[in-house]
C-alpha cells in the first residue's frame, strides 16, 4: 500500500497536500484499491464552502458509491475535470493526476487534526 511521506491523511482515507493557504485533496491508494474500478466522480461545486468532516464529494465504483469527506474547512477554488472525464485515473494515479479538488483553507489550525503518514499507516498500511 502506497502512503507518500509528503502528504497528510484522514481517518476516512483522504490525503491532503498543503501549499501555503491552499490544500489539494484526493483519496488514498488504500481507498481506490478497496473501491475497485471507479466509474463516476461527483466533485463539489467551485466556490462551495466545505465544512471539515462533512461529505463534499462522491466517488463511485462498479462495486459501490463512497462519500469523500472534507479534510479541512474552506472554499473550493479548483476542480480536477480530468477525473470527471476519465474516472479511472483515480485508480491508476490517486496521489498525482487523480487529485479531486483544491480548497482555500479557512481555519489552518485544522491541519493539526490530520494524520501523519505513520499514523495513517496504522489504519491502512496493515493490509
Amino acid at each position: 500500500m502506497n502512503i507518500p511521506n509528503n502528504l497528510d491523511y484522514t481517518k476516512t482515507h483522504e490525503w491532503v497536500k498543503v501549499n501555503g493557504n491552499i490544500a489539494r485533496v484526493g483519496i488514498t491508494d488504500f481507498a481506490q484499491h478497496e473501491l475497485t474500478d471507479i466509474v463516476f466522480v461527483e466533485l463539489p461545486k467551485e466556490g462551495a464552502v466545505l465544512s471539515c468532516g462533512k461529505e463534499c464529494a462522491v466517488v463511485e465504483s462498479v462495486k459501490t458509491a463512497s462519500d469523500v469527506y472534507a479534510p479541512l474547512s474552506g472554499r473550493v477554488i479548483k476542480l480536477n475535470q480530468d477525473v470527471v472525464e476519465a474516472p479511472e485515473v483515480v485508480n491508476s494515479d490517486p496521489y498525482g493526476s487523480g487529485w479531486l479538488f483544491e480548497v482555500e483553507m479557512s481555519n489552518s489550525s485544522e491541519l493539526n487534526n490530520l494524520l501523519t503518514p505513520d499514523e495513517y499507516k496504522e489504519i491502512a498500511g496493515g493490509k
Partner: protein
C-alpha cells in the same frame, strides 16, 4: 486479515489465490470476485476470451425410465423442443406458480438428464425434486461434488477450445453439448457471448484449468460475471426472481409451455394476472442504481431495483427492477437523489 472459516473453497481455489484474486463469500462458497479488475475482465470476455470457475453450481442427475415424463412435470419449459445432446433453459415453479429456481436441463437420453442449478439453491432444489418423485421410476442424485464446471466465454473461446481438444466445434450449435473423451463440452453460458461450459469429473479440474490457462484466457470473477449478465438482461435468481415472482412477471414467460399437458404450477400460472413486470433500466444520467433503490414516475413509487451495476460497454448505470404499470421513462432514487432512466423491454433471447 479476513477469516473465511465458514465458506467452502472450490477445487480451483489455489489457482485464484496464486492469481491474486480478491475473494468473496458467495452463498457459502469462497469465490473470486475479481482478479485484475471488473471492467478489464468484462471487456476481455466481450472482445477476447475469459475463463470462469463455476464449480459452485449445483448438479442434479435424474435417471430412469420415467425421467423424461418426470421432468416434463417438474419444469415449465417443454422438453419436446429438444433432443439428445441438447440443453434447455427453464424455470422451476411451485404449485402457486412462484419460481423456485431457473436452471438448465441437459438431455443425454430420455432416461438420463443433468440439471444445472443455482449454487445458492442446490440443496433446496434437490429436496424439492426428491419430494415429487413418488410414482415415477427414477433415481435422483446430487452429484455437485462429483462434477466440476469451468466456463470459457468470448469470441475467441471456440478457437482455443478447438486447439485444446484438437477437434472442430463448428457443428456444435448453441445449447448443444458433446462429450470429448472425459470432458462434456456444452455451448452455453451466462455472458451473452459465444462460449462453452465444460463439465469434468472432480479431481481433474485443476488439470483442465491449467491446460486452458496455457492459451491465456482472462480469469474472470463474479464481479464481471454480474456486469456481463446484466448487460444482456439475464436474470439472477435471488435478485431478479424469487418465490414471490412468476416466470411471466420475471420476463421469462417464453420458457413456460402452456401447451404441455401438465406441470407444477400450470393452473396457477394460467389464472395469474401479473401484478408487476421485470424491466431493464438504462440510466440517462450518471449514477449507478443498486438493489433496493426505489423507481418512481411523476413522484410516485412504482417499483424497486432488483439488480444494478455499471455497464462497461454502455458506459452508464444499468439495472433490472419490477414496476407496476407501463412506462418508458422513470426516475430512480439513488441515495436520496432522483436520476432519470429509460425503461427497456426485457431482452427476448431466442432458444
Amino acid at each position: 486479515m479476513p477469516m473465511y472459516t465458514e465458506a467452502k473453497k472450490t477445487p480451483i481455489y489455489p489457482r485464484h489465490i496464486e492469481l491474486g484474486a480478491k475473494m468473496v463469500d458467495f452463498h457459502g462458497w469462497l469465490m473470486p470476485l475479481q482478479y485484475k479488475g471488473v471492467i478489464q475482465e468484462h471487456l476481455a470476455v466481450r472482445n477476447n476470451v475469459g475463463i470462469f470457475d463455476v464449480s459452485h453450481m449445483g448438479v442434479v442427475e435424474i435417471k430412469g425410465n420415467d425421467a423424461y415424463k418426470f421432468l416434463q412435470y417438474l419444469i415449465t419449459n417443454n422438453l419436446d423442443k429438444i433432443s439428445t445432446g441438447n440443453a434447455i433453459y427453464s424455470p422451476m415453479c411451485n404449485e402457486d406458480g412462484g419460481m423456485l429456481d431457473d436452471l438448465i436441463v441437459y438431455m443425454f437420453s430420455r432416461e438420463h438428464f443433468l440439471l444445472i442449478v443455482n449454487a445458492s439453491n442446490t440443496q433446496k432444489d434437490f429436496d424439492w425434486i426428491c419430494k415429487h418423485k413418488k410414482g415415477y421410476n427414477i433415481e435422483i442424485n446430487n452429484i455437485s461434488n462429483d462434477i466440476v464446471l469451468i466456463a470459457l466465454q468470448g469470441p475467441k473461446a471456440c478457437g482455443i477450445l478447438e486447439k485444446f481438444l484438437n477437434q472442430s466445434l463448428s457443428d456444435l450449435k448453441r445449447f448443444h453439448f458433446r462429450k470429448f473423451k472425459r470432458i462434456i463440452v456444452s455451448r452455453t453460458g451466462y455472458t451473452g457471448e459465444d462460449g462453452f461450459e465444460l463439465f469434468i469429473e472432480s479431481g481433474k479440474e485443476i488439470w483442465l484449468w491449467d491446460e486452458l490457462m496455457k492459451f491465456k484466457p482472462e480469469p474472470v470473477g463474479l464481479g464481471a460475471r454480474d456486469t456481463l449478465r446484466l448487460e444482456k438482461g439475464y436474470i439472477l435468481y435471488g435478485n431478479d426472481a424469487d418465490i414471490s415472482t412468476t416466470p411471466i412477471e420475471a420476463g421469462i414467460g417464453w420458457a413456460v409451455s402452456f401447451n404441455k399437458k401438465d406441470f407444477i404450477g400450470k393452473d396457477a400460472l394460467l389464472k395469474n394476472k401479473p401484478k408487476k413486470r421485470l424491466v431493464r433500466l438504462e440510466m440517462q444520467e450518471s449514477g449507478i442504481p443498486r438493489q433496493g433503490c426505489a423507481i418512481l414516475h411523476s413522484g410516485k413509487k412504482i417499483g424497486t431495483v432488483t439488480s444494478g451495476t455499471y455497464s462497461p460497454c454502455m458506459r452508464k448505470g444499468i439495472a433490472m427492477g419490477y414496476i407496476e404499470g407501463d412506462y418508458s421513462d422513470v426516475e430512480i432514487d439513488i441515495r436520496g437523489k432522483l436520476f432519470k432512466a429509460f425503461v427497456r423491454r426485457l431482452y427476448e433471447h431466442s432458444q
